[in-house]
Symmetry: C2
């Protein structure tokens, strides 16, 4: 199995956690998002994923992009250490929590969007930073509200074992901290993130421990 | 079943298509995104969905937000007219296609993001329009490339019956046309969209036919 990855990509980080939770070996193929005008936009990588975005997973002839589709695939084909609970309501809730990160926070703060703000719109760095912080703060507020009000929240986002939702939460918290957001203002999120930080699967997926880390 | 919806919301439109494909009756509860400073941000609606975004589905005690989580839930609990194929590779591909829309296009062009550009950043309307068109064009290019290169593409995005991917494609094309984007430049997308437009489930979900349409 090959994972096209970039150490600091939030979406790749999610997939690394899931692969580690399931104990699946993979070859990391680094795609440097800043080098060579963005290696994700080069012909070699576009042949893998025409979207020009990381991550992409290659497994047994299949090439798959989109982190959530990858996690669902891994969970169907490698069911050990399931990323989704067994009951339909629990599964729905875990997907909802993951998608709050995947749809409401991360896409608005992706590298290409921040670049558009600076290059096409000529916005200064502090406007870019405010933009980033605005959407993360709004998203963490929303995620915290969903977690805090639901009795399904356990030691982790849902119950007492890690799920897909935790694979999405941890990289988003990592990004929030990079932009000096006070994560302690979201006590449930901070508590779950701290618990995950101690687990080997999450530790080994951390950006600073990747072969392409700088 | 109750669907909190807004006639022009792309994410609500996806859920309406899925409910119609499965022949599920529902009560539409309109949430006006522009009236009263945005009804989605009022206390009544935040009690339903603390994210302050439509859609939300209420079914038998469950309240669920996030359109893709809703579609996955509907498919698990009401398996008639399945939105996902049976094989793991096909399921992965359908989710990937849906997520290209759900993660790479739509969030960047959501109402609240366009508002931030105009209100917080003081950008003129034409910059907002360019922004919108830029991300739709980039997203449709990417979606077209994924569809065109894969033999799994049939009459619909995957095979010869509608799937979750078509539920996501059609509302995105509707939005693209509102912003005068030449969808014919993406022949596979245009072909699938035209086919869907003739089906009753897609027709009945169209924004112009909703009880809250203006």
């Amino acid at each position: 199995m090959k994972l096209y990855t970039y150490f600091r990509s939030s979406a790749a980080y999610r997939v690394r956690i899931a692969l580690n939770l399931k104990g699946l070996d993979y070859e990391a193929v680094p795609v440097h998002l800043l080098r060579d005008g963005g290696q994700q936009l080069g012909a070699d990588y576009l042949a893998v994923n025409p979207s020009g975005l990381v991550p992409a997973l290659q497994d047994d002839g299949l090439v798959l992009s989109q982190s959530m589709a990858i996690l669902e695939y891994l969970d169907e084909v490698y069911p050990v250490a399931p990323l989704l609970p067994k009951d339909a309501l629990g599964r729905a809730r875990v997907r909802e929590l993951a998608q709050i990160v995947a749809c409401d926070i991360h896409p608005i703060n992706n590298l290409r969007v921040l670049r558009y703000l600076v290059k096409q719109l000529g916005q200064p760095d502090e406007v870019k930073t405010d933009w980033y912080r605005h959407w993360v703060i709004e998203g963490l507020r929303s995620l915290e509200a969903h977690l805090a009000r639901n009795p399904g929240t356990g030691a982790f986002c849902h119950g007492d074992t890690p799920t897909m939702a935790d694979c999405f939460l941890v990289p988003q918290v990592f990004n929030a901290k990079r932009f000096d957001i006070d994560v302690e203002a979201y006590p449930t999120i901070a508590r779950i993130d701290a618990l995950c930080a101690d687990l080997p699967a999450f530790k080994a997926a951390h950006p600073s421990l990747q072969p392409d880390a700088e």
